[in-house]
Symmetry: C2
Subunit: 439 residues, 2 copies
């Protein structure tokens, strides 16, 4: 007897929950992901800002399912999906399915200006994070050697585009590095000449939260020294700076935290998508007319049947969707035929964003607070949801260590480097030193 086969694409929060929900079911679960690890995206900005190592927040997928015998993990990128004929295509092979769960996640969106990506990288993968970390650290190394004051100022100006949680967290963390680590370790860079600018297109930060918390986040960031600009729509980005309408800011470090879109794979489905490329799913999260194919997580677009609000692109929503779909598949496989399906209801647990050391904001179903308690709550919740005990213990211990020592020690520049040094730092420091060789 051939077991029914469930294909799951993507091992993010949604995909993992879907696969776990099918444990002990007489079926064959095939999980595909282009990476060999599950990534805890909410802490990715801490890798980009040298507080954590990649292995702290990424965990081998195969390790997660070591003991779930009905799962086969493949590290491979799915090229195409044929909903009508029930198969997915991978290079020259195809894999048929009885049920399909698309949990392919999201990537950056530059709102039609993909040429900005080169100058303004986004933060979605481990490689993105280590690239941003390298770029940031190289900016300080280059500034230390830079003689021209304008060029030096541009190297020490960091612009974060986007005032959602990722943008707020990046800006706060950058400011902490610039204020705490860099002036102590460099001889010619001080806190004053590093600028961190956070640009938000809308009229307040953290638009998913209550306006009081938006205001609190702005004040906290400004007190730390971040320049927060609302109603600031970026009109151009290039290698040397950013335009906001008629205004130009010279800057060599731009980080994009403004827009997301569903993974490219949804384009191959031939079904209606929203503007961000997300699949407009039915209330049971299946694709209209394809009841055996579901979309969960950031790739799904759905209005909650209870609140009539869009379900947000957050980890808790993704996990709930994965679990919900697994239950439907579970029940149908057990009874052997289609059943009447429930509608997905998002249980909103709230939203949080950290701003800096002992500073965060939390909006937990009407219970709104900021400061050190929000930060402790944020830390505990994030550590709790890490996938392994080892990560939980080591991330928590690392945070405590860094809190006490006020230092970030994962400041490694790895991969090929092309430094643009105008002169050895030596001459910046020692004004009296001759530039001709000593004899």
């Amino acid at each position: 007897m051939t077991l029914p086969r469930v294909v799951v694409i993507g091992a993010g929060f949604a995909g993992l929950k879907a696969v776990k929900g099918l444990a002990d079911l007489p079926c064959e679960v095939a999980l595909f992901d282009k990476h060999n690890y599950h990534l805890f995206q909410p802490l990715l900005y801490q890798v980009a800002t040298a507080a954590l190592s990649p292995a702290d927040i990424a965990y081998p997928i195969r390790r997660i399912f070591r003991n779930q015998q009905n799962v086969i993990v493949s590290m491979v990128r799915v090229d195409r999906i044929d909903l009508k004929r029930n198969f997915i295509a991978i290079e020259k092979s195809i894999v048929g399915y009885d049920y399909l769960v698309i949990a392919a996640g999201a990537t950056h969106s530059y709102f039609g200006r993909d040429d900005w990506e080169q100058s303004a990288p986004g933060l979605k993968s481990i490689d993105d994070a280590t690239a941003i970390r390298k770029r940031m650290l190289m900016a300080f190394e280059e500034a230390e050697h830079e003689a021209d004051p304008d060029s030096r100022r541009a190297k020490l100006t960091f612009i974060v585009v986007g005032g959602g949680p990722t943008g707020v967290e990046m800006a706060g963390a950058l400011r902490e590095i610039a204020a705490q680590d860099i002036p102590r370790d460099f001889r010619s860079i001080d806190t004053v000449n590093t600028r961190i600018i956070l640009l938000q297109g809308g009229d307040r930060l953290l638009p998913a939260m209550h306006p009081d918390l938006s205001e609190r986040a702005r004040k906290d960031l400004e007190a730390m020294g971040v320049e927060v600009r609302v109603n600031a729509r970026v009109t151009e980005i290039d290698d040397r700076g950013v335009n906001i309408g008629a205004e130009r800011i010279e800057c060599q470090n731009v980080i994009w935290a403004a827009g997301v879109q569903a993974a490219q794979l949804t384009r191959s489905l031939g079904v209606p998508l929203d503007k961000a490329g997300r699949v407009l799913v039915d209330p049971d999260l299946s694709i209209p007319n394809f009841p055996n194919a579901f979309v969960v997580g950031d790739a799904a677009s759905i209005i909650d049947s209870r609140t009539h609000l869009p379900v947000p692109g957050l980890a808790p929503a993704a996990m709930q969707m994965g679990k919900f779909v697994a239950e439907i598949i579970h029940d149908e496989i057990l009874v052997g035929h289609a059943i009447e399906r429930p509608k997905f209801k998002y249980r909103d647990k709230g939203v949080m964003a950290t701003i800096g050391k002992a500073k965060a904001v939390a909006d937990l179903r009407g219970w709104r607070f900021g400061g050190v308690f929000a930060w402790l709550a944020w830390s505990l919740i994030h550590v709790m949801f890490l996938i392994s005990h080892r990560s939980r213990i080591f991330v928590m211990a690392g945070w405590i260590w860094d809190y006490v020592s006020t230092s970030r020690e994962a400041r490694l520049i790895t991969g090929p480097v092309r430094a643009r040094l105008s002169r050895p730092a030596l001459y910046v420091e020692s004004e009296g030193a001759s530039t001709t060789p000593k004899s």
Copy 2:
């Protein structure tokens, strides 16, 4: 008054000790390194084999000298040295010096067969280590998908060339991964079909140790399942395998741990070098005829004046050399003129190599032992010499954790991946599954 300037090239063990030895001296110390971190090379193989993260064994150089005010750190590659005119050249700039300390370290040597590097990467930098880690993990991912048994066998064959400490440690660690982690996490790879082969050109492993320990290491490795081959001279390496004289082993994963040579920079000096490119220094570690220029660490070639043996390329020797040279410079700067210099004497503290969990060999000045005590001694000594308290605590805690859990969790494949998958793993596992789509 212009302070005397000491230029130090390289922030390895020797360079760090040299710079530290000049603290509190009225001089300007300019430290150049192409990386922004000091690397604890003895544990690099643990990054390559997914036991540690890069940040565990690499530490920002600027952080090390945060409180040593007379040091200026530059992350830059030195292009050329002009000993006659007392300057170093960096791109278009030059930096003059009163004293020069060359601590540029060593790189791989392929004994004239640089074309082997592509197929048989060596292990000297963080990027080398993450590249080897990726290659090793991808071999298992690809093998899981491979239908052809010969190709599968080649993907699951790992050859380590070189039976010194690095080769022994790599082979042992690879065997542990292959025996412990892989079979539990993959569905179609078992301990039996992964081969780890350690090739040694000479007649015994660990030639720097007593023959009894060589024998012990060989027995321990063989008991773990490593195939140890002595008197095995590699005559050819390509993408598909290795030749040992007339014998051919098909293999897609070769790691080079056989030869080292001094960093390229020594070639620019125009002074006599040994076969490995190391500078033949005077007994005071200065370059003959250039008393203000020293070479320390792996780039120096010297016969110990007491034992009449070559000083080995080990971390303790490098540290002793750095300290020795700093003392000479220190004294000369303080008295203001050249002094009679002592001869460098290497204090041999012994050699150790780890083989696997609770297995190592130690040869400490005639006190020779193996097994769990050697392994504990090895662990403690390596942790002790790590550069930061944070690394010490986290590396030690990580080892204890992994010892208890028998798992390596830094198994991340990062950077661009070009998988060569012959078919989805699905079909390896489910013999009965049809390769045509289900309807």
